[in-house]
Every structure is written in C-alpha cells, then in structure tokens.
Amino acid sequence: MTTSDGFISIRHVNKFFGSFQAIEDVSMNIGQGEFFSLLGASGCGKTTLLRMLAGFESTSSGEIYIDGQPTSDVPPHHRPVNMVFQSYAIFPHLNVRDNIAYGLRKQKLPKAKRDEMVEEMLELIKLPGYGQRKATELSGGQRQRIALARALILRPKVLLLDEPLGALDKQLREQMQLELRALQRQVGITFVFVTHDQEEALTLSDRIAVMSGGKVLQVDTPAGLYETPKTREVASFIGNMNFFQGTVRRNGAAMGAVETEGLGHIPVPLDQLTKPDGAPVQVALRPEKFELSPTRPEGALHAVEGRLSNAAYLGERSHYYVSIAGKDQPIAVSTQNLGRMTGAPDISGDAPMWLSWAPEAIVILDADETG
C-alpha cells in the first residue's frame, strides 16, 4: 500500500463503540500545509475521526498514516500532532506562560530559551505581556489563543482543532476565523479542523470533508462543494438548494436536456449529464442563481412564470418564495439588495413573476426516492 499520496493518509478506517459504528470505511488524503475541515452535524463521527488522529481513540480496523508513518501503535503523547480542545483545556493551576511552555519540558531547554519561545508565541497570538496572568483570569477568546499557542509552540506536523470557535460569540468568532486562517498561512502547519458550522468551514478551509452517519460524503474545495455537490445530502447541508425531479432527454447537441417538473424541457451542460437517455435524475439550482423579474426577461434562454407566495427582507439579501405550476413546493430565490429597499415587497397581489437562470448553474444529481 502506498502512503506517499498524502501527508495524512486515512485508509479504510472503521470505528465501533460496542455495536455502534461511529466511522464507516473512511479513506482520504490530506496534503501538507493544508487547512482541512471535517464538516458535519453532531454525531456524524467528525470528532471521533479527529480523536483517532490525536490517538485518543484507536481504529477498529484500517490505518492512519501521518507523514508516511503508520500510527496504530503510537500512543498520543508520542504522536507528532497537537490538539486544540473544544473546552480549550487550559490548566487552571498554571499561569499563561507555564500553560504555553507545558509541552516544552521534555525538550530540556535552558530557561532563557524557553522564555524566549513563550514570548514569541505570545506575540504571535497578540497577547504580549500576558505571561504572568492566571489562567482563571482570561476571557474565552484569550483562552482560545493560549490553547493555540500551547499546541503551536511544539511545532507539530499536524494541528487538530475540535470546534475551537464554538464557544465564542458571533463577532469574536468571525475575527478569530480570519486570524486563524492568517496564522495557519504564517506557520505553514497542516490544520485539521472540526466544525458543524458550514459557513465557518467555507471561510477557513482549503478543502472540506462533509461527513454524515460516520461516512464521508464528499471531499472538495469550498467552491467545489457549493457549486457541484455530488449528492442531495451535501447539496442541502451546505447552503440552500431547490430540487426538481427530472428525466434525461439527450439530443446530441452541445447541451443535453432534462424534462423537469415545473420548468419543462430545459437545457443542461453535457458534463453534468452522465446518465443515459430516459434515466430519472434530480435537477438542483441554488436560490441565488435565479433571476427574478416582473416581466419575461429578454434574451433569457429559458424562463418560467410563477407567483410570489412569500418574501423575507434580510438586510443585504431578500428571500422570495415563488410558486410555479407543476411543482408542489415553492422555489426559493435569493437576491442581493443592491438598491435601497423599503422593506419586503408586497406579496398580496398576484402579479406574475418570471424566473430565469443560466444553464451552467444547474447541477444534476442521482434520482433519490426521498425527494
């Protein structure tokens, strides 16, 4: 088995807790210096996978290679990885300096050198002069930074982060996201980041693995996941998505076509169309890919008439729900409020609304009984 195809290489890993399978045949590669996120709802196995990388959980079968070395027999305190815990796990009986220097003891450094490294770290996390503070006197954001410094000072090959921003309020979280990303570029260490927040994962990551029920659904770049999801589950987990039932109608031209509920016979890019003629598929379109206009837009390849059934004003955007003939559920449409709005538009009138879209925005997914 080759292990050179990833800095971290996870090979057919399974994990059972009693009869419960927490991880089901997970394989993936994570590159050196990559910011890699494990994204999923709680209980999807992402934290278990992270704890397996750290060595706190063993694999039931399969193998994890870090920098080419198998890790099954390596206890957590000998692994070249360090972790930032969800609760930060700052040692309450030590001050900030001793917390950060905790892992250095093994290296038997002279005290001056050690203090210098701690000072460097405090600079890096923008808390200079905090060395003598007690751990109990720190705010949530400060604890988070110290947990980060404590792990980074050991120059691990991989830094594992278990929802480190989950306990922070929204503003601080957004600020820390940017800092974390900048820090990762600065130190160049591979980050494996666990989160249930899709926006956070999209903001931070080079690549994301979407997990559900112990399985990896898709590994891709943020744009890849958003624009070309492989399954309905991924499509609806990241952002919002409109789904339509459809049937493939190939016609040999540059564009394929799908007979779609409510939208009729519509063209789709050929590279999306892998199914044979007559196969049932799902057509997926993001809300913001629609264009909304009161009259039929000129020059649009395809447009459909509907009626506005609901609307919500969200500041930078507005959400509209448009009912069309031939489809039970209204279509969600999201538009940017470029001009100044005077509130949600009047939805009482039944003025017709026209929906149009670019064929390239369409994603074709396998047919799915639950849809």
Binding site: A54, F56, P75, P76, H77, H78, V81, N82, M83, F85, Q86, S87, A89, F91, P92, H93, L94, D98, Y102, G103, R105, K106, R150, A151, L154
Partner: protein, 312 residues
C-alpha cells in the same frame, strides 16, 4: 357604554399589580448580608455556646493551679512553664504527632488510589461504590477498635494464622499494644474521612485537561504529577487535616491498643481530668496541643503551596 366598561377593567386590574409583602420580609428581600446571618444564626448559636464558651473556660482554667481538691484561681503561667520544662510532656506530644502523622500519611496514601479508581474508572453506580467504602463506618468506633484487638492480638487472627501455616513459631509481639497497632487502627478507622474529600477533588478534574497533558507529550506518570496531583491537592489537604487533627488527640485507640509505648497526649489529658485530678494542667495541655496543631497546619499549608508552585 363602551367607556364605562373600559374604566371598570382598569379599576379591577390596578390593585392586582405587585403583591405587597410585610415589612420584615421586605427588609430581608433587600439585604442579602442580613439574610446570610439569619441562615447562619442557629449554627452560630450552637458554636458560641458549645465551642467558644468552653474554650474560654479552658483558656482561663489553664492559667489556674490545683490546690488540694479545688483550684487556686490566681492567674499564673506555672502550668505552661512545667509543660515547657518537664521532658515527659514534650515526649508525649512528639509521640502523638508522630503516630497520628504516620497514620495520616498511611491513610491518605491508601485511600488515594481507591478514590482515584472510583473517580476515573467507575462509570456506573458511583454512589454505590461510595456507600460500600463508607460501610465500615456504620459500626461503632469502639467496636472497630475491639475488632482490631481480635485481629492483632497475641492469639489473634494474624498470629494464629501465620503460626498454623508455619511462617512464624512464636506470636509476633509488636502487633498488639504498640505504636504499630495504634497506627493500623487509626488508618482504618479514619479512612472514610480521606476517601470522601479525595474523591470529590478528583471527580471535579476536567477529563479534557488530562487529555491535553497527554497530547502535549506527558506520559501517564508525568501527567499524574503535573496535573492530577496538583489539581487534587485541595482534597489531599482536606483529608490530611480531617485525619491529623482529631487523631492527635485521640485517646480510645491508644488506651485499648497502645500499651505503654503507644500512649498519646490524649490519654495524658484524660488522666489529668480523671485519676490525677489536675484540671488546670489538663486545660494547659489541651491549649498547648491546639497551638501545636495550628502551627503544624500552617507549616503544612505553606509547604504544600510551595511544592505546588515548584511542580508547575
């Protein structure tokens, strides 16, 4: 018509607003300190009558002297100079601190692993384990002391057992009526007072701190000495005080199991108030014992704090 009905509802709703409370309840509601003192007052009353007053009597009496069957109530430090000058008192104090010190160390050292096990490795029925560990304390202290007499005796369980297996030919005499017997019995008798505070302090330790220490490169031993032990120090200190202070003055166990070598200061104080009938001397010895315990406790606290800082 519409106007009248409106004013009626208004009139009805007005008195229903904030329900008024009595004046005392109102004062209590506003004054948290007063509420605290009120809650403490029954205990404070008992403490004052049961501890402070007797202590003051003891303190005054320690400056009296015996005169025949009564007291000479002129205040003098005569008893204190005697305690300072006559070697018997110092020797007894020293022995008491030695015996109860060893008993305390043995008890805490033996109970720590038990508390550790229940805190970290028992996940179901923790309460049952705690109850099982305190089960021996459901019998009277005196009965347990007598039970040890049976076990440690000249023809007791240990001696006859070892003799019948042939390990020893004559009974081990150091077992009963010795300091060893007193230490063993005290260590057993006070175990619950060590297990409970140790358990509470270990149980409180956040498990992710242990994982963090492991993650940062500590093996099990380093982790124990750098995280678990310092964080359970409050429990160790509490257990040490809870055992050391009462056992130093204990007189039942040394009286029944100690023999001449195992007599402690408590026995001597009891003699002063009993057979010797020198109450002022007994009072002086009690005060001296208290002062010594306070001094030792302060030194102990200081040393543990320094040690904690150094481990970190």
């Amino acid at each position: 018509m519409a106007d009248t009905s409106l004013s009626q509802t208004e009139a009805r709703s007005a008195p229903a607003a904030p329900p008024r409370v009595g004046r005392i309840a109102g004062i209590l509601h506003r004054n948290e300190t007063l509420r605290g003192y009120l809650l403490m007052s029954p205990t404070m009353l008992i403490m004052t009558i049961g501890i402070l007053v007797p202590f003051l009597i003891l303190l005054v009496m320690s400056f009296w002297t015996r005169e025949g069957f009564g007291f000479d109530t002129t205040l003098t430090a005569h008893n204190y100079t005697r305690v300072w000058n006559e070697p018997i008192f110092g020797a007894l104090l020293q022995r008491s601190f030695w015996i109860s010190g060893v008993a305390t160390v043995v008890t805490v050292a033996l109970c720590y692993p038990m508390a550790y096990y229940v805190a970290f490795h028992v996940h179901r029925n923790k309460m049952m384990w705690i109850i099982l560990m305190t089960l021996p304390f459901w019998t009277s202290y005196l009965l347990r002391v007598f039970a040890w007499k049976v076990i440690l005796g000249y023809q007791g369980v240990i001696n006859s057992g070892l003799m019948s297996v042939g390990v020893i030919e004559a009974p081990l005499e150091f077992l009963l009526y010795s300091q060893t017997a007193v230490i063993i019995t005290l260590a057993h008798a006070w175990a619950a007072f060590a297990i409970l505070p140790l358990y509470v302090s270990l149980e409180k330790i956040d498990k992710s701190l242990l994982e963090a220490a492991t993650d940062l490169g500590d093996g099990p031993m380093a982790r124990f000495f750098r995280i678990t032990l310092p964080l359970s120090m409050p429990g160790i200190i509490a257990a040490t005080f809870l055992i050391f202070i009462p056992t130093t003055g204990d007189y039942i166990t040394p009286a029944l199991l100690g023999g001449p070598d195992g007599a402690m200061i408590g026995n001597f104080i009891q003699l002063q108030f009993g057979a010797i009938n020198n109450w002022p001397m007994g009072a002086t010895l009690s005060i001296v014992l208290m002062l010594w315990i306070s001094a030792i406790a302060l030194v102990f606290l200081f040393v543990t704090r320094k040690a904690q800082e150094r481990i970190a």
